[in-house]
Amino acid sequence: MPQETARRSEDTGRGDTDGGDDSGAMTAGMQAEQGPVAGVFDLLHPPSGELIDDCVHCGFCLPTCPTYLLEGIETNSPRGRIYLMKAGKAGEVEMDEEFVGNFDACLGCMACVTACPSGVKYDQLIEAVRPQIERNWERTRADKLFRTMIFSLFPYPSRLRAAAFFGTLYQRLGLHRLLDATGLLERLPARLRAMEALLPDLSMRSVVARQPAFTPAVGPSRRRVGILSGCVQRVFFGDVNAAATRVLAAEGCDVVAPRSQQCCGALSSHAGREPEAIARARNLIDAFESVEVDTVVVTVAGCGSSMKEYGVLLRDDPDYADRAADFSAKVRDISELLDELGSVAPRHPVPGRVAYHDACHLGHAQGITAQPRAVLATIPELRVLDIPEAEICCGSAGIYNLVQPEPAERLGRRKVEHIEETRPDAVVTSNAGCLLQIRRYLDAGVPLFHPVQLLDASIRGTDLSLISADQNPSSTT
């Protein structure tokens, strides 16, 4: 049984909502009195029965699911998870450790969405289940503590920067003392080690790089775009943002980076921390509305996929529902926008072989696989290589490699093995999480880039090897 009755939150500020497709309208009071009524789920947008019923149980999604690939246990597969949603909704199983563990183990990589011939919208299903678990399941103290720590660190560039600057997080936050005191050392260190190991070398000037608030187009302006600075991105990959701004300007965009913007809430949203995600979404919408742009461009796949879902996230908010939908319609991944605009800036050759890694949140979640390749193909003498088993996640998956370090490591190593089979000079991918994860297992001699960094080098005529030695923080571990 759910450990807590559904908490209908003033803090989400959702106000009165219609309980969604299956549940009909209800009020906070009713919720509190009746507790969960859609089986193990409460009435606040339980996973939709109609979407669940689209699944014909054919199993075609099994081989692309990283957790099934690792474990061979069908419960940990899309088909198994959808089956449990159905059983959960019918009240035939309980929300117990196995139930929750099975959904926690899902990377949210959405490979199953791409694989499913019946068009099952697993993305919408899992996004409905996660907040249900956060609301209705009491996590262990250790788990709660760790999650709270992540979410009080990552989304805040200043804290992250500070933590990164002042030695290892472990010592900086005095965590092992805390853990000792709570007797939780047993489970946590693997996770903390994972966290430490992920952080790249940060004595880089990129850590302090700030983005200019306005960068005018080179030549006549073709579009006015806002750029998301990101939280992790801003701290660890400041150079990516700088490169993106230069490329956009060179391709005729006025680039605005609103100072008031903060974390987009993607990490929170993918972890089911809905109230937090909602608050962040509202802030970001406000920030970009204040600067009036045609397009909001994102360099991090995970952020982009979340921002494209703001319309759904804020559907119940009378003040924001329409604005969120408008905002989502304006969001573009940088490769998507550059492909749409077509190039005007001349290119210089960047000779070399680069392996392109499809970030799950770009390829599976946003269906963007052709555009980054098309954009890279505009660079003379650059050969773009496809990686075997490209559809399988690298194990980064938001905060997954922090909360589930063991499977994440196996997936990371597996990915890097496949990357190395292509014998690349460099690896390219469009997501901060993947960059960090792959860096950890990849031969230190092979640099990693965001596609926009290669474009920037090509437009400016800088040498690829020069970038790798000098400007790319991710390549110097």
Binding site: C58, F60, G80, F99
Partner: protein, 497 residues
């Protein structure tokens, strides 16, 4: 020896906590599942109409571990069911209540291929497609190609003697398996088969293939690999009616051409495939034939031209030839997604697997259409036209009062129509739970008796996948025949959705 199978219920042991503990020790604790939540996800295969929750699921990783689990089952008289990827379409991997499911999904090792002799040994959990992938660099492949090949396992393939589009020319799984290591129901480990298809002595290998997990569990399989043909040509021909497409098929065979594959899809099936894959099938045609010719380049070209002519003579309105390997793969991806894509056009479906003499195609299709409109239901058709293996998909909505019953009736009537026309109830999906009650329609009592005797020789106590293939009073009521609610359903032990 008595051919009477022992009804396991009378003496079956139970999975106690101690027994689960013993299995945890024999394997590892994380590879034994007994909690009610996770057990639910093993209660059915791809036919969700039959569901039984097992008492325990074990995930062995070696032959010895499989034998250890089977040994415990034999000692305690506990029924067990092998499970591959659970894509079966006849309820073959349906668990037995209070029984054990032995999942082979973690046995995924592939030994290095013997390239010169074109064979390779793999574990049972390796997927059909991964076998071909493993030897692609040597220009070899594994020929049987069920539509579910990216997910179904070689263990499931041998159990069902699975086939696919290319079996018209190359034969079914049984033609491509040389040898197997088996764990028998008394936990002994034996090897059947040898280095080639032709072997001396009784063909035990052949007996086990297609026995749906009732005789043994295969833990290692040596498969035969074929060299990739020099040339492959693929086309999609549209026809204004299924009957005309059928004529074209007969014309092709009559011309002495042996295509690698001849597949037919009707309008509804095309709609679902296109929604899923966007393979470029015409949406406004009553039927489409996918024809593939392979072999030496010169022969291939000649046959391919002839096939195009035959299609045109039969009234084809449009022929699309795959320009390259990429287009060909897309055409096949579309065709192979057909069942799995049904969710796009209907919430629920029954799939039949009837075989008819090819010459009766037009007639059967016409009869099927009449029957469907009488029942007020839609039937999508996708089938291996070359060998007359039909897969009519009866579409229904379980949420609409009475529709599942009508769908079930129509589906059974279609299967019986196939037998009436001189055909069979199953081509490649197996009998399993789903068609056990129809077996007497195909086989005489004596025929069935011989099969049961063979079964009893391997499994005298009837613990290996009991209740499958053979009609039992439990499953079919007193008189085997078309479906009626059976006692287990009435008692709530199994359900139909």
């Amino acid at each position: 020896m008595s051919a009477q199978l022992v009804d396991v219920d009378h003496q079956a042991g139970v999975v106690t906590d101690e027994l689960a503990e013993e299995l945890r020790r024999r394997l590892t604790p994380d590879r034994i599942i007994t909690d009610e939540t996770r057990l639910r996800t093993f209660e059915c295969d791809a036919i969700t109409g039959y569901r039984v929750v097992p008492a325990l699921v074990a995930f062995p990783e070696t032959t010895e571990e499989v034998a250890a689990v089977v040994g415990v089952c034999a000692r305690e008289h506990i029924p067990y069911v092998a499970r591959g990827a659970g894509t079966g379409l006849s309820g073959g991997a349906l668990p037995v209540a209070e029984g054990i499911v032995i999942s082979l999904a973690r046995m995924r090792k592939v030994l290095p291929p013997d390239v010169d002799n074109q064979r390779m040994t793999v574990e049972p959990g390796v997927t059909n497609a991964d076998i071909s992938k493993a030897v692609a660099a040597h220009d070899l492949y594994f020929a049987p190609d069920p539509s579910s090949q990216i997910v179904c396992t070689i263990g499931g393939n041998i159990a069902e003697n699975s086939g696919g589009a290319h079996c018209l020319k190359y034969g079914f799984t049984t033609n491509h398996v040389y040898a197997m290591t088996l764990v028998l129901p008394d936990a002994s480990v034996v090897t059947v088969g040898g280095d080639g298809i032709e072997q001396c002595g009784p063909d035990l290998r052949g007996a086990v293939i297609g026995s749906e997990g009732t005789l043994a569990i295969a833990t290692s399989i040596t498969v035969r690999l074929l060299r990739k043909p020099e040339d492959v040509q693929t086309m999609v021909a549209d026809f204004p009616s299924a009957a005309q497409a059928g004529e074209a098929v007969s014309g092709i065979i009559a011309a002495g051409i042996v295509p690698a594959a001849v597949e037919m899809l009707d309008e509804l099936a095309i709609e679902a495939c296109e929604a899923a894959v966007h393979a470029g099938y015409s949406l406004d045609t009553a039927a489409a034939l996918v024809v593939e010719i392979d072999g030496p380049a010169a022969q291939c070209e000649e046959d391919f031209d002839r096939v195009q002519e035959i299609c045109q003579e039969a009234g084809s309105t449009h022929v699309r030839v795959a320009a390259d390997a990429g287009e060909r793969m897309l055409i096949w991806k579309g065709r192979k997604a057909a069942f799995a894509a049904m969710g796009r056009i209907s919430p629920d479906y029954f799939v039949q697997d009837g075989v008819i003499p090819r010459t009766k195609l037009g007639e059967v299709l016409a009869r099927m259409e009449e029957m469907a409109s009488e029942a007020g239901l839609r039937v999508a058709n996708v089938f291996h036209a070359g060998d007359g293996n039909l897969h009519p998909l009866v579409l229904y909505n379980a949420a609409t009062e009475g529709e599942s019953e009508r769908g079930e009736e129509l589906s059974t009537a279609i299967a019986e129509l196939c037998v009436e026309m001189g055909g069979s109830i199953t081509g490649e999906h197996g009998v399993g739970t789903d068609k056990a009650c129809s077996m007497p329609k195909m086989f005489s009592e004596d025929d069935l008796e011989v099969m049961k005797r063979l079964r009893a020789a391997f499994d005298p106590t009837g613990i290996s996948n009991p209740g499958k293939i053979f009609p039992t009073p439990r499953l079919c009521g007193e008189k085997p025949g078309p479906y009626r609610e059976h006692p287990l359903e009435a008692s709530g032990q199994i359900e139909r959705m």
